[in-house]
Symmetry: C2
Subunit: 444 residues, 2 copies
């Protein structure tokens, strides 16, 4: 085991995301150290109320109500409290005491982003916020870095899981808005006061963050046009479906050519950000985003159309994004830039194809006579391959004087080596005229 | 205009990607400087043959056959020659002379990646390669950074556009492999010698790169199991479709629990990487990846399922990824880490909702009598809104004593302000009983 320098990590907030981050940090510490080049030592978790916020995921001795002292001793501060204050003050304190900061706080970034980024730039600290938009879906780094050499022209984003769940219920189940909201609340997809979600406020914050990043400028939250889904009716959703459309709440960020009074393009560009329900064609990739999932569709001049898709902001998913930022921050502390040598830090055995387990579809031409199916089935079983389904087509030919049939067999998971010996045995069995096709089945 | 320090950029290779990179660097220089915090000065393009590789995109005075001198004077070297040698030697020379390196060379990375990464680590240089997998789709940064705190368990990738185009033709058009390949060649999706693509060699190189990144280890190219699509028959594709599957060439990278001789898990993990045609369920997100597009589906313990989707590796798309890496490299030169203040470098006007142009679907209840449609149509026209389609349902009610009908109108693009005045006029028109619904239409 390699000895690493330790970086002191302070967590502000012990809610659902904070508890997951703490648990993963404690559980996967060595693995994260290997990838970071530094140990990530959780030095404390600041909460408002020690008794109310006790959770099995966080050892009791790490809990504190003294956020300010915790921040002072930290190399990296992770802010997961939410809300504007005291989150803003704590982040500024952390930056000014030389720590890097990781936050998932979209409201704060959309409202006070420029102030925080400027404070960080002044002292050479970094502010990471991959978790602020789209949960675990990497969208901040792709926009900030991967597309930094391109010109983004439009973003269409499904960035609020609650409203997508509701609109999807209305579309797929024919629910009213009221019923769909009740289901979302019951399943934990909507909060007791759902205003931030169904009013479009949450999506507007994310639109401000995405537009600022994509267009390399500052798009204030108050300039984001916002409409929620409260006026969307079951009739509209039904009519949309019949016309080949789906209703989605979209965050739309656009680069727009500015026109003069006569409508002629001036050569200048402006940007706009807006959130409102919209019809999208049923064949559009965003139309297939169901349930509480999120997706961001990006169009850029050189890159063309890209889509980023995944689960919305659950506690565990958001923790994944926070931990990715933690590893990035640690790498920067260690080598002054994104790590490049992580691939050499671990050596994991590379297994041969014979160790792979997957499922198979095997098509056979067999002699069509009683008992053949049983023969074939026991042959699979003898080689340790379990059959999930067999379908037999009607007799469709002859081999010599015997009628033949086609069998299509789908297996449960089996190793490549078991499958190979099964296929070899099939090939030499008298009941089998031919092994027509062997294909692996993935993605089930 | 801000004055920046200039960084000297050397390009190795003037082919389709190189020409696009050169053109974009020269055309968008100021914009890229604003985002990078440094000017990106293209100091030369090394080619093998000055006459044969002359292109309008690259000024003649920048072309040189002396790659080694060009590398010596560069801060950033962009290698777009392809092939193992002399690309490998040039990259090592660049690293050892203190330059950062950007490459799209998947064959080289899959074969000599560890040697190059180690050389870079020795001298503190960076090696960027977002363009090596998936063209413009950001997949390297998400795996290296965003998911660095998570445990990736499986990757299913459609990483070769040529074979996806061919298999998609076979599925959608019922083509044979031979015919589909001929179409791909004719359209420029397949090269004259298509072996690297249809033999799965290209996909295997990408699988080695993805597996090494995702599992933070070294997966050598020779340990990637590889099967191409040459044995896939029209009959298999047809049978798959009837059974609810699609045949895709997948690059599959997996974390696999190691079992002992009795089949019990040892607690240790290994990894495997393989490329072969596979059946995937028609409802899987990868099944909807048509034509020459690429997509990478990633499963991780905390993040759940993610998908990254976009165009495969065309010249322009690959150039987008290269330029993103160039901006990242420049930011690191300037401030020693990923830039955070780029949002303050540019100020672009944020436009109000009234400047947004989009399309609309308007549903009206109108009095069902002759001339109403003409009245409504001219009302749209008077307000500068062009109608694309109108559909009228059968008479479905009465207003007072008059029968009514429902009109659904879809407009061409119009401004929010024109639309608002149109809707106001509709509301006060005698022929209109009610404006039932106004929805924007996006994604067309």
């Amino acid at each position: 085991m390699i000895e690493y320098r330790n970086l002191r990590v302070a967590l502000l907030g012990g809610g659902s995301v904070g508890a997951q981050v703490a648990a993963l940090l404690l559980e996967h510490g060595e693995e994260l150290a290997n990838r970071s080049g530094a140990g990530l030592e959780l030095v404390g978790v600041a909460v408002r109320d020690l008794d109310a916020e006790r959770t099995p995921a966080i050892p009791a001795h790490l809990l504190t109500t003294d956020a300010e002292s915790l921040i002072l001793g930290a190399d990296i501060v992770v802010e997961l409290m939410g809300g504007l204050e005291p989150a803003r003050s704590y982040i500024l304190q952390a930056i000014n005491s030389g720590a890097d900061v990781i936050t998932a706080n979209k409201a704060l970034l959309a409202t006070h982003g420029p102030e925080l980024f400027e404070a960080a730039e002044q002292v050479g600290a970094q502010l990471y916020y991959e978790a602020a938009v789209g949960g675990a879906i990497p969208i901040i780094r792709p926009l900030r870095d991967s597309l930094a050499g391109d010109r983004v022209t439009r973003i269409l984003g499904i960035v609020n899981g609650t409203t997508n769940f509701i609109l999807d219920r209305m579309d797929v189940n024919g629910d009213t808005l009221e019923n769909a909201l009740a289901v979302a609340t019951e399943l934990g997809y909507a909060e007791a006061d759902p205003t931030a979600d169904i009013g479009g406020y949450d999506a507007a914050q994310k639109a401000a963050i995405l537009a600022s990043l994509a267009f390399h400028t500052t798009v204030p939250l108050e300039s984001v046009h916002r409409e929620g889904i409260t006026e969307v009716t079951a009739g509209q959703v039904d009519a949309a479906r019949k016309a080949g459309f789906v209703v989605k709440l979209l965050a739309i960020c656009e680069r727009i050519a500015i026109v003069d009074a006569d409508g002629a393009e001036t050569g200048e560009y402006g940007v706009s950000a807006r959130v409102h329900p919209a019809l999208i064609p049923a064949a559009h990739p965003l139309a297939a985003v169901h349930g509480a999932n999120n997706a961001v569709f990006v169009q850029a001049e050189a890159a063309g159309s890209l889509m980023f898709y995944g689960a919305g902001a659950g506690g565990l998913e958001t923790a994944s994004a926070v931990l990715g930022d933690l590893v990035s921050a640690a790498r920067r502390h260690v080598i002054g830039g994104p790590g490049i040598a992580e691939s050499t830090h671990a050596t994991i055995e590379v297994l041969p194809m014979s160790s792979v387990r997957t499922r198979y579809q095997i098509t056979l031409t067999v002699v069509d006579q009683p008992g053949v199916l049983a023969t074939i089935a026991s042959l699979f079983s003898e080689h340790g391959v379990s059959v999930e389904a067999v379908s037999q087509s009607v007799s469709d030919g002859t081999t010599g004087s015997l009628p033949t049939a086609t069998l299509v067999i789908v297996t449960h998971e089996a190793t490549e080596s078991s499958l190979a010996s099964t296929v070899a045995a099939l090939g030499s069995n008298d009941a089998v005229s031919a092994v027509d096709s062997v294909l692996r089945v993935e993605g089930l």
